[in-house]
């Protein structure tokens, strides 16, 4: 009898079917949901994308960055530059914006990889500050006060007219729906892509580097290359997400686009609350985050204080987050990456 190495579990098969149903429902959402729901879902999906990339970086790659706002801002500024100065279509510009983030990420990695651990964290933060200060010198994009996307560029955006006619909505709502669909595609590609990556040999190498860098090196894993790969991948994805967020906002300023609170603190809290180092964690985290935000939005700074305290408590009491609590008790894995040996006759030393 032959052995099979598999990552599939019964729960993962069930969740895959449920996942496909959920995705079909999310695609169809604009046909029956109002504009407010679409905007909320857009927010959830873009934050989920940012969280998945930060989780890839910190949870799987062991690179705790506090400078992800550099890539959100770089992507957003690239979008505005391509549309306003280059005359590109915004939808195309969103896709290209990832390359701008990549262009920032290469020198960032060059500097930041000289630092370890906590110093890496603040190092990336310093570089994000440098990028912000340089962006606020960019006079043709409004300097320190920022600028808006020109109205005709967003009105004539690809697909908008089609959505207007098909769904019978106004132009502004059609733009939101378009942004929502792009965000949905981005989130699905992100989750699918990261899941695929983790199941490949590279994913195994990545987990090995995270768990014990010396041991990983000794079995021939190129740890430096893994770090670069993870860092550049998350920079690219974060840049695209940043451009998309600012396509929907249609107004940019350096302080907002490079905000450490909005694009890194929130994202870290989402991942930590949900469960760092798991695919499910950011999904749970973003839902908790959205619920808390809806509940506490009127309380201003109390809201952020609660988030901070919640993140501290979770880190101390349940370092694997809410999903960790669930999977410890039920050993449930919706995105299993653990390889299991199945089939054959298993003999243990007790049997002999």
């Amino acid at each position: 009898m032959s052995y099979i190495v598999t990552t599939q579990t019964r729960a993962s098969s069930v969740s895959a079917i449920a996942g496909i149903l959920l995705i079909l429902m999310l695609i169809a959402l604009p046909f029956f949901a109002g504009r407010g729901t679409i905007q909320d879902m857009f927010f959830i999906l873009t934050m989920l994308t940012l969280a998945q990339f930060w989780n890839l970086l910190a949870g799987y790659g062991g690179l705790v960055s506090i400078g992800q706002q550099a890539f959100v801002g770089a992507g957003a500024y690239a979008l505005f530059a391509l549309v306003i100065l280059g005359g590109f279509d915004p939808v195309l510009a969103v896709a290209l914006a990832g390359f701008a983030a990549l262009a920032i990420a290469v020198p960032t990695a060059f500097f930041a990889f000289r630092l370890n651990g906590a110093y890496f964290a603040i190092g990336t933060w310093v570089i994000a500050e440098v990028v912000r200060l340089i962006a606020s010198q960019w006079k043709s994009l409004g300097g320190g006060t920022g600028t808006s996307l020109p109205r005709d560029a967003t009105r004539d955006m690809w697909f908008v007219e089609m959505i207007e006619e098909t769904l019978g909505v106004r132009s502004a709502a059609a733009r939101d729906i378009l942004a929502y669909w792009i965000a949905l595609v981005l989130a699905l590609v992100t989750i699918g892509g990261i899941y695929w990556l983790l199941r490949t040999r590279r994913g195994l190498a990545l987990a090995a580097v995270r768990d014990n860098i010396e041991a990983a090196k000794s079995v021939g894993v190129d740890a430096g290359r893994m770090k670069w790969m993870v860092f550049l991948t998350s920079a690219f994805g974060t840049g695209v997400a940043g451009a998309l967020i600012y396509l929907q906002k249609a107004r940019i300023s350096p302080d907002a686009a490079f905000s450490v609170t909005d694009w890194t603190a929130y994202v870290i809290f989402i991942v930590v609350i949900g469960g760092i180092g798991t695919m499910e964690g950011p999904i749970i985290g973003v839902l908790v985050f959205f619920a808390l935000q809806s509940l506490l939005a009127d309380f201003g700074s109390w809201y952020l204080m609660t988030l901070g305290v919640l993140a501290i408590s979770i880190m101390l009491v349940a370092p694997r987050g809410l999903w960790g609590l669930v999977s410890e008790r039920t050993s449930l894995q919706l995105f299993p990456i653990q390889r299991r040996l199945r089939g054959g006759r298993l003999t243990t030393s007790e049997d002999q």
Partner: protein, 287 residues
């Protein structure tokens, strides 16, 4: 001559950054903990001094002296009951807990004191200056720099001349062996953070006397402090002063060329040092 003046102002500004950084450097040196809430603790110290000044009518310097034991207790408890639980091989818990603390503290201050910028009451001292030849030196920057040097001399004395300092050094070198020799590392760590917060109080005093502050400026102070520590080399206190001076001089030189470049040139100086000397200017043998 204007350049000499600019550089001297920069050196004196470096004293302030060294004060921001000394506490960070101390805590890192002993327990390899980077406290991301350091900047917000400085701002909290400034508000505590302000509170003592307005409630009790104390002059700022006396208020800072009163605040010191309070801040020591806050630091001691913070380390003993919160941060000690995050120490270990994994770098994630201390980073994420202190980051959460930073955000929570910032917003608690925002809730308690509003976003309005504040300033400690100033007297003749703050505006007075000394004429040294063609250059006029502000008394306040001179006092700041002198305090930074004093703090660093004091810390070095504490490290190399006292029993507590010996315990600090032993714990820093090897916490496990130190605990076998009867040192309670948890208490040593708590005391170190307590002392770090006493230094934070000194930094907070000058922060509040020299410029306006509001609850949101903490993270920027953390970044300056961190840059000074890295430039100086991890764990070297005099290196931290040198690092502060480099950031200060870079900032004043940048500002002299274009006021918008002040902060940027500080960061760029930091990145340049990192490029040439990744371990800082005066690294210890191991870190």
């Amino acid at each position: 001559m204007i350049w000499v003046d600019t550089i001297i102002q920069g050196i004196l500004l470096g004293g302030l950054y060294a004060l921001f950084a000394a506490g960070l450097s101390l805590v890192f040196g002993i327990m390899r903990l980077v406290n991301l809430a350091h900047g917000d603790l400085i701002v909290m110290g400034a508000y505590l001094i302000l509170l003592l000044v307005t409630l009790l009518g104390l002059p700022p310097f006396l208020a800072a002296v009163v605040a010191m034991p309070l801040m020591f207790c806050i630091g001691w408890c913070l380390q003993k009951f919160l941060l000690n639980r995050t120490l270990g091989d994994d770098i994630l818990p201390p980073l994420l807990v202190t980051f959460g603390l930073s955000v929570a503290l910032q917003n608690a201050l925002l809730e308690g004191f509003s976003a309005d910028s504040q300033r400690l009451p100033t007297d003749v001292l703050t505006t007075a200056s000394i004429q040294a030849g063609p250059i006029s030196l502000g008394v306040m920057p001179l006092l700041t720099f002198a305090s930074a040097v004093l703090v660093i001399v004091g810390l070095n004395q504490l490290f190399y001349r006292t029993e507590l300092g010996r315990a600090f050094r032993a714990t820093s070198d090897d916490a496990t062996t130190a605990s076998l020799m009867g040192i309670k590392t948890a208490n040593i760590f708590a005391t170190a953070t307590g002392i770090a917060l006493v230094i934070v109080t000194v930094a907070a005093l000058y922060l509040g006397l020299r410029a306006n502050f509001d609850p949101n400026i903490g993270p920027a102070r953390l970044i300056y402090a961190f840059e000074a520590v890295i430039i100086g080399g991890l764990g070297s206190l005099w290196g931290t002063l040198a690092g502060g001076i480099i950031i200060g001089v870079a900032q004043t030189l940048g500002a002299a060329i274009n006021p918008e470049w002040q902060i940027l040139s500080g960061h760029i100086a930091f990145l340049l040092v990192l490029l040439v000397r990744p371990r800082g200017l005066f690294p210890r043998a191991h870190d």
